[in-house]
Symmetry: C2
Subunit: 367 residues, 2 copies
Amino acid sequence: MEVNKGKGEPGLQNPAKQMDKPVHLHAVESMLPKAVKRRVHALKRLQVQCGNIEAKFYEEVHELERKYAALYRPFYDKRRDFITGTVEPTDAECEWNSDKDEEEELSEQIKKKIVIDPAKKEDATPMEDPKGIPDFWLTIFRNADMLTDMIQEHDEPILKHLKDIQVKFSEPGQPMVSIDTLNEKVNPKYDSKSSHLVLLFQSFTLEFHFEPNSYFNNAVLTKVYKMKSEPDSSEPFSFEGPEIVDCGGCVIDWHKGKDVTVKTIKKKQKHKGRGTVRTVTKQVSNPSFFNFFNPVKAPPDGGEMDEDSELAFDFEIGHFFRERIIPRAVLYFTGEAMEDDESEQDEEEDEDDDDDDDEEGDFDPRA
Amino acid sequence: MEVNKGKGEPGLQNPAKQMDKPVHLHAVESMLPKAVKRRVHALKRLQVQCGNIEAKFYEEVHELERKYAALYRPFYDKRRDFITGTVEPTDAECEWNSDKDEEEELSEQIKKKIVIDPAKKEDATPMEDPKGIPDFWLTIFRNADMLTDMIQEHDEPILKHLKDIQVKFSEPGQPMVSIDTLNEKVNPKYDSKSSHLVLLFQSFTLEFHFEPNSYFNNAVLTKVYKMKSEPDSSEPFSFEGPEIVDCGGCVIDWHKGKDVTVKTIKKKQKHKGRGTVRTVTKQVSNPSFFNFFNPVKAPPDGGEMDEDSELAFDFEIGHFFRERIIPRAVLYFTGEAMEDDESEQDEEEDEDDDDDDDEEGDFDPRA
């Protein structure tokens, strides 16, 4: 289709055309005849009212999500039981029409690959009767691009103990944090004319359930995401539905020497005058998935957040667990979920391992 | 964060690690011990059941959308009346706390710009008392990047007569088209074991309301979008919520010589043998926004659609009208809606006009 921006035509009444976009877009209003500007203001008032209705809509959607979470629950519980091996599915529960041909063909391809590399042969002969589905969640962490970048080698043995990931939604009409705290966080400039003096917050909590393990005492690690689900009276038009605005983690009760989120480094310091060298030991933070439970704080003024910031990435991860991983776990395990993911197909993952970039000496928490 | 794909570590049981992604992802399943594969199949069955629950969720969301459409209606009707000038808003309805300083400052900037170019001075002095908000929808078409590329110079005088754009949702539990037609379109391979033999379709209709004009007789031009809102039993895992699968336009009853979607071109043909030249006249399709009401047909087999295809773009436009333009029209008029649009900020729109690319001679339907 042709592109016709309609520029440079004289005699048209629309002032928007006479300005460079986007800097002066606001000026459209100031260019309008007074009577027209007045009507545009009337439209803006209607827009604010529609925004408040929209907030109610999202409130009802959240209610629906709570309702459906309860409907999914028995299926997710069954899934957990099959994964952990607590319950063995019946034959009827396992009936599945795989595309046999495709499966066998792929199987042949794999067998060929394995024969080529005899060193791997041992791995290719798995245990014939393991309990449940071993490494179910760990495999998902490895498969899903968004998560694989978060996990380190030292996280893997811990994630083998992950039994289930669940999402819980906040109770209806009951903000998870006190209004005072919220007011501070979002900093709404309350308009005395606005009928919406109480901001509605929704939240969801991700629960990571672990079986008893030698790393920490917690049975469940939690991460809560708070969402603003109502227009801000200071910026009524920026509302586009619930938006994650803050998150909170939990304290992990690590067993002694098992905390993978810290490491002890030794640093050599040279005395400038004397030229002598001494070694200093200090604890520094260590890359690990478990830093997910100790997130950075959201800017307290509710101000603009850098889209590339660590926090923005954290919000994305939270959303990804809630919307993709939890509802479609088995498809991330088998890889079927990733086939739609374009970025997976474009990127060749041939980069060399670069997990050895700490050259100052390191501490293995598994030791 | 460090990237650790966990490659090349021996002794781990997870077969996914031994394969190249993504080609062999499916093979994860075939590599699993029989007992584990059985449990994965049980998980897949649960996944299908959850997909069916999810479809019910989207059905309820659609219901909510219908309910809220009715709540927005009186506000949208008021908007239309203020735009067309049928109703004049009261002073109370126009009260708006603009950021005066910003507005005045911008206004100054604009005035300066205009003084620089005296040729434009005339345009900068608009009529002092026009009816309603002139060129409201046309301005939106010009402002919104996604629409501006669709409109041609010859569309603009027609779009001046646009009074309102509305969205209507399909009735509950009542597919808009007959099941037979639907079956043909989506080609579901009905699984006799599936309890979902009837595919649920939802639809929404965009209505473009025009005031009486000299171009066509229709008072309303319509475009209907059909959505598939249930998993396909042949591909149960591909369901991600309602998806536009087809659309249909309407016949525009153009006044004689006013149809901007066609043009008459004259072509010179040279006789190869004799070297004589003759001129042939033929009607060909002409770029115009009004081609939107005569969309290409969706592939009848319900097969894969190219994401860059004309149809995919059409679906995007339909979605854009429904989700952005209709609910936020005034913000597209003033330009406020585009300030969040990143692509707007990145692109400098300095390209020269290129609407004269038909060199074979053309026909002006406005003449």
